[in-house]
Symmetry: C2
Subunit: 556 residues, 2 copies
């Protein structure tokens, strides 16, 4: 009889541990059938949340919650309880959680309430606000297994720096969220915790690698989540789940002290990942970024740049936006091109100047970014997997293999290419007719709408801005409607293999387009390097023009 | 008959070219004998400069020159002529120049004068101010041979970005200055141009690698020079020549587009060099840094950080300085310890708080920095030398050899160590008793006074702040006097080999201490990463307290 590979027992124990941390009374009496695609209303119908708890979770963003706690409308315990319950319902229908920290979270909420009662002061700008974190963040006493069996049952002995900063600002940490195996996939699926589902439509992808975060926030099981992004891992799940998501540059929000399946020091010769918010409102994204920057994180993380939130740029005069309609590598499918154009037209109609940017060098970014992702040859992560005989998940098994690490000559060569490309791309930011600097540009998040599970195609529109270290965010625009099903591909030759596969996501022979109905169409907004505040201002401006933010808050 | 190695003829042609660019009437009728150690008065006694030209070069810094040109007291042509003449005299007694650009410089000065006359406007804050540049900077049509024969007679086809920015600000570029072979030595000696001598005392070193810059400014053949520093190459020649010199962090002043004997992209996996000012006054250092930052260089060089001069920190409240008396690796010799302590005492007496900083991790910096310097195994530079059969110069021949480039594992390991050390060193910036942040700390530039030629020992006090990317500057304090000859080494065991060699620079058996008489004693000032303006404010504060700046300007 063949022995079972060690990872299986570890995964079973890990899932049992997760289940054991959920109070029995918060379990759904029955799970919805898999034919129920939109599960967002289940918390409301479950009977598990009180009317107060439904109000807390459905009628607030983090900004209003923080104000309500300050105004003594809610206690931190009430707010925390509401989100713990709702997160657990999200878990049951979307499989979005990894670590559950409810008992510690409620204890902390009680402390915050009593502190506020005694002193009349809040601990900080996030006093009592529950914040969910991607599994990569380390919280003392809990695992950061990131869905790899050999990393399970190795609880962290120290907090990641961002965890400390959030706690100092008054946040309540109550759960961590699910990710793809290796973090190098765009669907959040792994052997330890299984696959995250999209609450809006369980047939389409929830995205990755911060997919658990995306699904949880979309379920309103979290009001403000923190993900990480080294190829699109904040912006992609934000798009998939119809949310706002910002990848700051690598020098603003502490990324240090996380478990990400690479060796210490590796990112310093490769690309630097960023941590950033996934949320239901622009002002919540700003709340997180402002709070972190004003905590002077550069005094504790040497990779960060000096500069308070107010020092991170801003729109200086009349706004000047740009639009990049294609990366020259994968032509956006009709609905993606359409929503981008609609956004441009609405902006122009409202008086915001938007100029067309020609970006001939953009197409060079993806392959160079891929060279950077391949420096280590995935050796470290294969070592981790093989330690428990853990196989790759389905999607990865055909795409990832162990390779010889890059040699020094080649490494120097790709860095030289990067500097050259960065220099060429800097020219995008100038309006060559007038010499003005462009405040931000908009472009697609992806060349396709939110696709079915395991069919995300290409990350060129997101990974390029990791290569260039530009702050970039996802801005949800509107739902995909019947009329968006129209629009055909032209008969031109595909630009390359990525473009060819992309067309299969629209060609009636290879996809039933109806799967897109009801998913959210989004655009990406990108600002110059190290100007995170300018990005937020540009995104907020676009959001206001489209009257999205207000209506969304009112509806939810 | 053995063929002469190719580098010899190239060096001879290069020296002949240099000589041919000097007007005959500016040649000294006779050179001072080598027994004349202090050659600083030769421009005055030479008869080559008119009284006006002596006044221009001796009674001004760059700030006052710029004001005088604006006030129409001097023309740009007068100022340029004066500095061209004086630079050529400096060249004849100190061998500090490489490329001579006089004809282009005078043409430009005429253009600037006529522009000002016609428009009533200056081109920029440096209108008409002559600036000298280290040979590493590229100026279209001129070599950047950096003293390596195989790089000679390959004129640049483009300017380095900083060159463009200085020209846009109105500067006049009139010469480039001498460096050590490979840039990896602390004496500026090479086979193509020969050795730079120290104008204050031709028996002691002029320092390196911006040694030509240091000697030229000390001769007042330049009022403001730009050097580069990846181990101490601005701060060391500033110290040797009794000048102010600032190494900004790597993200402030464009370094891009220089010839430094390494491959494109190599610095991105190693340590980043900085460009910065060497000058006779603090306000001139600030003038350069402010002008460059306010030209928004990050819009053209992707390695730079967003941030105008005003965004680069500053002393926020009552100043709080620190002092680090030793790096724990090489104990400063008595006069170095003494001048550091004098500085602390004077600061305290004037009411500036200075706290003692214990920096146990400081000693780890030097060997880690050395690991970074060794990544390439010097292969590129040896390829350059061997192309013309050029040998290493004397000092380097016993210290540099071709090695196998570092492997990827080791490279990742040293980057991880760097992050760890950077994190530990961040703790230095907090006064642990009160939680206040230290504005800047002072420490030695070197563990010894300005030593005889080829006897500089160790760069731990300077290279550490390249490793950490802290802005740091040299502040001249006072002349070495008779009474400084006193003070003996204790009988303790040397801390290591560097410390042992350092003692030989004080032990009467191994040195005649009288060589130090009349050299300048300096201190180093260091500020937190990316806070160049805070550094300048701290240096200016110390300079004012010591009443150095004013008296120096008056005397010169």
């Amino acid at each position: 009889m063949a022995l079972e590979p060690p990872w299986k027992a570890i995964a079973a124990r890990k899932q049992a541990e997760r289940l054991s941390r959920i109070p029995k009374s918060w379990l759904l009496s029955s799970l919805p059938p898999s034919s129920t695609l939109d599960v967002r209303s289940i918390p409301r119908s479950s009977g598990i949340l009180t009317p107060l708890e439904l109000g807390i979770t459905e009628n607030n963003d983090a900004t209003s919650l923080s104000a309500a706690i300050r105004a003594r409308k809610y206690t931190a315990v009430q707010v925390t309880t509401a989100f713990c319950k709702r997160a657990v319902i999200a878990q049951q229908v979307c499989n979005c959680l990894t670590e559950i920290l409810f008992s510690g979270a409620l204890e902390r909420a009680r402390y915050l309430d009593s502190y506020y009662e005694k002193t009349g002061k809040t601990v900080g700008p996030l006093h009592g606000v529950p914040i969910s974190l991607k599994d990569t963040f380390k919280i003392k006493g809990y695992d950061s297994s990131i869905g790899i069996a050999s990393l399970a049952f190795k609880p962290a002995t120290e907090n990641s720096l961002l965890v400390d900063i959030l706690l100092e600002a008054g946040a309540v940490l109550y759960c961590k969220t699910n990710v793809p195996q290796t973090l190098m996939a765009l669907d959040s699926d792994n052997n330890v915790f299984g696959r995250v589902l999209n609450p809006r439509n369980r047939k389409v992808t929830a995205g990755g690698s911060s997919g658990g975060e995306g699904a949880l926030v979309a379920m309103r099981g979290s009001v403000l989540g923190v993900g990480t992004d080294v190829g699109g891992s904040i912006r992609i799940p934000a798009m998939c789940n119809g949310l706002y998501g910002i990848k700051p540059g690598s020098m603003r929000v502490p990324y240090v002290g996380q478990e990400n399946g690479t060796r210490e020091g590796a990112s310093k010769i490769g690309l630097m990942a960023s941590a950033g918010p996934i949320a239901g409102s622009m002002r919540d994204c700003e709340l997180l970024l402002r709070t972190v920057s004003n905590a002077r994180p550069w005094e504790r993380d040497p990779s960060l740049a000096y500069g308070l939130w107010e020092d991170q740029g801003g729109i200086e005069r009349k706004p000047l936006l740009g639009v990049i309609r294609t990366d020259g590598l994968i032509t956006p499918l009709p609905p993606v091109a359409k929503v981008l154009d609609e956004t441009v037209q609405k902006l122009r109609k409202s008086g915001v100047e938007v100029i067309e940017i020609d970006a001939p060098e953009f197409k060079k970014c993806q392959s160079l970014a891929n060279s950077f992702f391949g420096i280590d040859g995935a050796n470290h992560v294969f070592d981790l997997l093989e330690a428990t005989k853990e196989p790759l998940t389905g999607w990865l098994s055909t795409r990832l293999r162990r390779k010889t690490p890059m040699g020094l000559d080649k490494l120097v060569e790709i860095h030289a290419k990067k500097v050259q490309l960065e220099t060429e791309m800097l020219k995008l930011w100038k309006d060559h007719k007038t010499g003005r600097t462009i405040d931000a540009f908009i472009c697609p998040v992806a060349p396709h709408p939110v696709p079915p599970i395991d069919r995300w195609n290409g990350v060129s529109y997101t990974s390029s801005f990791v290569l260039l270290d530009y702050p970039a965010g996802t801005l949800p625009i509107r739902d995909f409607k019947e009329e968006d099903l129209r629009g055909e591909l032209d008969n031109s030759k595909p630009l390359g293999s990525w473009d060819k596969i992309n067309r299969e996501l629209w060609d009636a022979k290879t996809i039933d387009r109806n799967v897109y109905l009801g998913t959210k169409l989004s655009v990406q907004v990108v600002a110059p390097k190290m100007q995170e505040r300018r990005l937020v201002q540009a995104m907020s401006l676009i959001d206001e023009v489209l009257q999205n933010d207000r209506s969304r808050q009112a509806k939810l």
